[in-house]
Symmetry: C2
Subunit: 406 residues, 2 copies
C-alpha cells in the first residue's frame, strides 16, 4: 500500500477550482466560493495563482447588484493542449485539443491493419511527432497523450483485439512504453469505449449528470462507465465488455464460446450477414459474390435505412432491439441516468438505435419511476474515441482525483 492519506493539497484544490471555472463558463470569485465551499479568502489565493499560471483570465466585470461589480473569470483553454489517438484496424485518428476539448488539429492515417505491433507503434510515434510540429504546439503546453484502442489491460501490458473480418486475435501491444520513450510526456492508454465515455463527459458537456455510460459500437460493442464524475475501471481496467452479454440462452453460438451473445446477435457483422441472406437486398447492396469489409457494408445498410428503405430499417431495428435489451439490463444493474451512443457504428443511422432503446427503457426500466434514463447520440461524431483519449488526459490534469497511471 502506497500513500493512502493526504490532505487537500494545493494541487488538488487548484485543479478542483479550475474545473469549476471551466465547467461554469464565466464565473465570479463569489460564485466559486459558494460552489466550492471555500471562503472568499481561499478563493482569492487560488485564483491569484491560476491567473499567474495563465490557466484562467479576467474578462471584464459582472452586472452591478448594488455594490462593487464582480470581476469575471474565464477558463483559458489555449493555455495547455492534449493529444488523443484512436488506434483501430481500419484507421488511426489523431486529435489535438485545447483544454476545453475543442479540436485544434485532426489527422487520420491508415489503420494498423495487419501490421506487426512493433511496426505499427513505430509509425504512430513518427506520425505523432509530425502532428506536433504541424499543429505548432509548444511542447511545454502539452499536458499528455491519450491512446484509445480496442484492447484490454493484461498482466504483460496492453493487449489489442484485432478483428480481421472473421478472425479475432489478442496481441500484445506495448504502446505506452514505446511512446513514453519517444516523447517526454504522460501517456494514458485506455480502451475505446471508456475513452468515448470520458470524452462525452468532458467535451460533450453532459449537463450535470455524474453517472452515465457510453456504448461504443465499432466492430463490436463496448461500454464505458463514468461514475461520480470519474472513470470506473474495475479490478483490472477491463470494464465494459458487453459484447458477450447473454441475451438468448438458446441463441446462436458465438466465437467466444457462448450462446446468444449481444455481439453475435446485433453487431454490424450480424446485420450484414442477415442482409446477405436476403437476396433482393444483397443484390441492391452489391453483396453477392464478394467479400468486402463488414464495416463498409454495414455503413451502406445504415445509409439506406436512414434514407427510409423499409427492409434496412427493419434490419437495424432488430439489431437495436437486442442492444436495447442489453441496455435495459445494464440500467437496472447500475441505476444509470443517461446513456450515450457513440462510435462509427452509430454514425449513419444512430437515430434508430436511440429511438428503440429509449422506448424500451421507458417501458421497462426499474428506476423509471424515480428518474428517467435518457438515451442520446454522441455529439462528438466518429472521432469520439480519439477526442475521448485526449479528454482523458485533460481529465487527469483538471480533476482532483489521481485517476490514471500516467
Amino acid at each position: 500500500m502506497a500513500k493512502m492519506l493526504r490532505g487537500a493539497t494545493a494541487q488538488e484544490t487548484h485543479s478542483a477550482i479550475l474545473d469549476l471555472i471551466r465547467s461554469s463558463g464565466t464565473v465570479t470569485r463569489v460564485d466559486l466560493a459558494e460552489r466550492s465551499g471555500l471562503t472568499g479568502a481561499s478563493i482569492s489565493r487560488v485564483v491569484k495563482r491560476l491567473l499567474a499560471d495563465g490557466l484562467i483570465i479576467e474578462t471584464g466585470y459582472g452586472d452591478p447588484t448594488g455594490g462593487k461589480r464582480a470581476t469575471l473569470l474565464q477558463f483559458n483553454p489555449r493555455a495547455r493542449h492534449a493529444v488523443g489517438i484512436s488506434v483501430d484496424t481500419p484507421s488511426t485518428t489523431y486529435v489535438v485539443t485545447d483544454m476545453s476539448g475543442r479540436v485544434i488539429e485532426q489527422v487520420s492515417s491508415r489503420g494498423i491493419g495487419k501490421d506487426a505491433p512493433a511496426t505499427a507503434v513505430r509509425r504512430i510515434t513518427a506520425e505523432l511527432e509530425d502532428l506536433m510540429v504541424k499543429a505548432e504546439i509548444e511542447p511545454s503546453t502539452l499536458v499528455g497523450v491519450g491512446v484509445a484502442l480496442a484492447g484490454r489491460q493484461g498482466r504483460g501490458g496492453t493487449r489489442l483485439l484485432r478483428t480481421d473480418s472473421e478472425k479475432y486475435a489478442w496481441e500484445p501491444f506495448a504502446v505506452r512504453d514505446t511512446l513514453k520513450a519517444a516523447i517526454d510526456h504522460p501517456i494514458v492508454v485506455e480502451n475505446d469505449s471508456t475513452c468515448a465515455a470520458i470524452g462525452e463527459f468532458w467535451a460533450g458537456k453532459i449537463p450535470s449528470v455524474n453517472d452515465f455510460a457510453t456504448v461504443y459500437m465499432a466492430a463490436g460493442f463496448g461500454l464505458g462507465l463514468v461514475t461520480n464524475g470519474d472513470v470506473y475501471r474495475g479490478s483490472s481496467s477491463n470494464v465494459g465488455e458487453i459484447g458477450h452479454m447473454v441475451l438468448d440462452v438458446n441463441g446462436p453460438m458465438c466465437w467466444c464460446g457462448g450462446q446468444g451473445c449481444l455481439e453475435s446477435l446485433a453487431a454490424p457483422a450480424a446485420v450484414v450477414a442477415r442482409a446477405g441472406k436476403d437476396e433482393a437486398l444483397a443484390d441492391k447492396l452489391g453483396l453477392r459474390g464478394r467479400r468486402l469489409s463488414v464495416r463498409s457494408d454495414f455503413a451502406k445498410i445504415a445509409r439506406l435505412a436512414a434514407a427510409g428503405d423499409p427492409r434496412c430499417v427493419e434490419l437495424l431495428e432488430e439489431s437495436a432491439t437486442y442492444l436495447a435489451k442489453a441496455l435495459l439490463s445494464i440500467t437496472n444493474l447500475l441505476d444509470l441516468e443517461q446513456i450515450i451512443l457513440a462510435g462509427p457504428g452509430f454514425s449513419e443511422a444512430g437515430d434508430i438505435y436511440v429511438r428503440v432503446a429509449a422506448t424500451e427503457l421507458n417501458r421497462l426500466s426499474f428506476v423509471r419511476a424515480m428518474h428517467p434514463t435518457r438515451v442520446e447520440l454522441s455529439k462528438l461524431g466518429p472521432s469520439a474515441a480519439a477526442l475521448g483519449a485526449a479528454s482523458l488526459v485533460l481529465h487527469s490534469q483538471l480533476t482532483p482525483h489521481q485517476n490514471s497511471r500516467a
Copy 2:
C-alpha cells in the same frame, strides 16, 4: 452543490488509521506509519487519541529486533456497538454486533407479512428497544442502526417491495424517520443485497479484494456492489436490480412487463412452479392440491437436492445456469474479482449454484485470462442482510469516506 473540498480532517484520518488497525489484527505504530504513508510523529498523535477513546488497546510488546521492542496495538471491538435489522415478508431479524462485526445478540420475530407500514414500523421500533435492553448495550456505545429491506429509494423516501406469493406491490415505508424519532442515533437504510455485500466485505473478511459483488437471493434476486472498498450506489441508490436482466429475448412473460427475465426463469417461484408440473415430484413434496409459501417449498426442493435427489438437483442446476449466465454478463461488464452468493435462497443448496457459476465463468468470462473470478458462498448464513446492515453502520463509522446519509 454543498461542500466539495476539505482537507483530510482529524475525523477522516482517525477512522482510516482505526480501519488499518482493525484489518491488521495486531500492529505496531511503525507498521501503521509504513502502511498509511503518515510519519511516526503523526501516528503517535492519532494513536494517542484512539487509545484515549478506548477504540484500541495496547496488548504487550513485539519481538525484539535489535532495539526497543514495539508496543502492539489492537482494535478494541467492544468499545462500540451496531445494530442491524433485516425487514422481510416472512421474518424480521435483529442483530447486535461489536465493531469487529461479531454477533453479540440475535433475535428474530415474525415478518411484516401484510401489516400496514405504520404498524410494522411501530412494532420494529418497540422490538428494537427491547433488544437494546436485553443485550445490555450502553446507549452511548451504539454507533447507529442499519436497516436492510427489499426496497428502493424513491422520491418520497424508502419504498418496499412486498411479495405475496403472486402479488407484487411497492409501498412507501418510512422506516428511517420513524426510527430516528424513537432513538437518537444515526439510521441507515439500504436494500438487502447491498447490505449483504458490505456485510461480506466487513464481517466476512474478504481477503484484500476491493471490487466484488454479492448476489442476494430471497424471493427474487438482488446484487450489491462494493467497488474500491466502498458501496456503489449509482445515481439514485437503486443499484443491483438484476432480477429483470434479459436472458432470453423470446422467453416467458414476466410480471414486470418484460420477457425472459432472470427472475421469471430462475427465482424460487419458477423452480417451485416447474416442480409442480412434475407429477411424481409434486407428490413427493406434497405440493398437490394446496397453495403454500413459495419459499418453504423451494427450501424443501433445495434440501432434497442437497441430499442427492437427481430430479431436484436438475431443477436447481437449471436455475443456477440462468443465474450463471447473468453473472457472466455482469462480470464481463464490471470486471469483478469475486462474487459471493448470500441470502436465504442459497442456504440449503448453495453449493450447486456455486459450482455451476464458477464453471461458467471460468469457461467464458473475458477477464479470465487476466485474473480468475472466484465464486463463493457467504459465510454469514441466512442473516447476512441483517449483519450487513449493522456492518454498513460500522463502515460509515470506520472508513474515511462519508458514505451514508445518516
